[in-house]
Amino acid sequence: MRKVFSILLAGLLWISVASPAIAASEAYADTHLVPCASSPAFNERMQNAPDNYYFNTPYQSYAANLLCGADGLPHLQLRFDKALDVIIPFGLFFYVAGFIGWSGRAYLIGSNRIAKPEEAEIFIDIVLAIKAFTQGLLWPLLAVKELTTSELTAPPSEVSVSPR
């Protein structure tokens, strides 16, 4: 196990050290992509775009940061130094999806403890909902906690198994 970790660590270090060493011009040498600023098709699109804030700022940003294909549109290259650009939106999505799921679950669990659980599903109990949202914000911590205390999963004795 220790050997696997050391190999993994060596690999990660190599990637993190090696990628800045790739010069900007070499980074896209193995693709047909060119920097958007030097792509004629992209420049044509930029000139034909409406002249306002919502078009100018993105086009300037794409021209400075992204690589364009023959169609003049920005394309992503799978590169380790761009990995954060994928990890951050994925992390945000994952957190938001978990927040929605966990708050709904917390609300339903909470509503089962009050006198009329059905009514709480039609008329939202604001106090309970705010409590559920607060729990939802902390969902990664709560999920780990409930998993370790086995509140999150049913015990094996409650899980029905079809006859074999």
């Binding site: 940003s61 940061n65 992204l66 992503l76 039609i122 939202i124």
Partner: protein, 46 residues
């Protein structure tokens, strides 16, 4: 007043309120960071 409060907490009204607030957040994000997409997060806008 009590009936109005109860009506306002009904599921369809709350769902609409949630949708409107989410739309406001997304529209404002697009206003502050227009064209935000993969590959442009860590480079300052020119």
């Amino acid at each position: 007043m009590k009936h109005l409060a109860k009506y306002l907490t009904s599921a369809p009204i709350m769902a609409t309120a949630a949708l409107v607030s989410l739309s406001v957040v997304l529209i404002e994000l697009n206003h502050i960071f227009p064209g935000l997409q993969y590959g442009t997060y860590f480079r300052s806008l020119p």
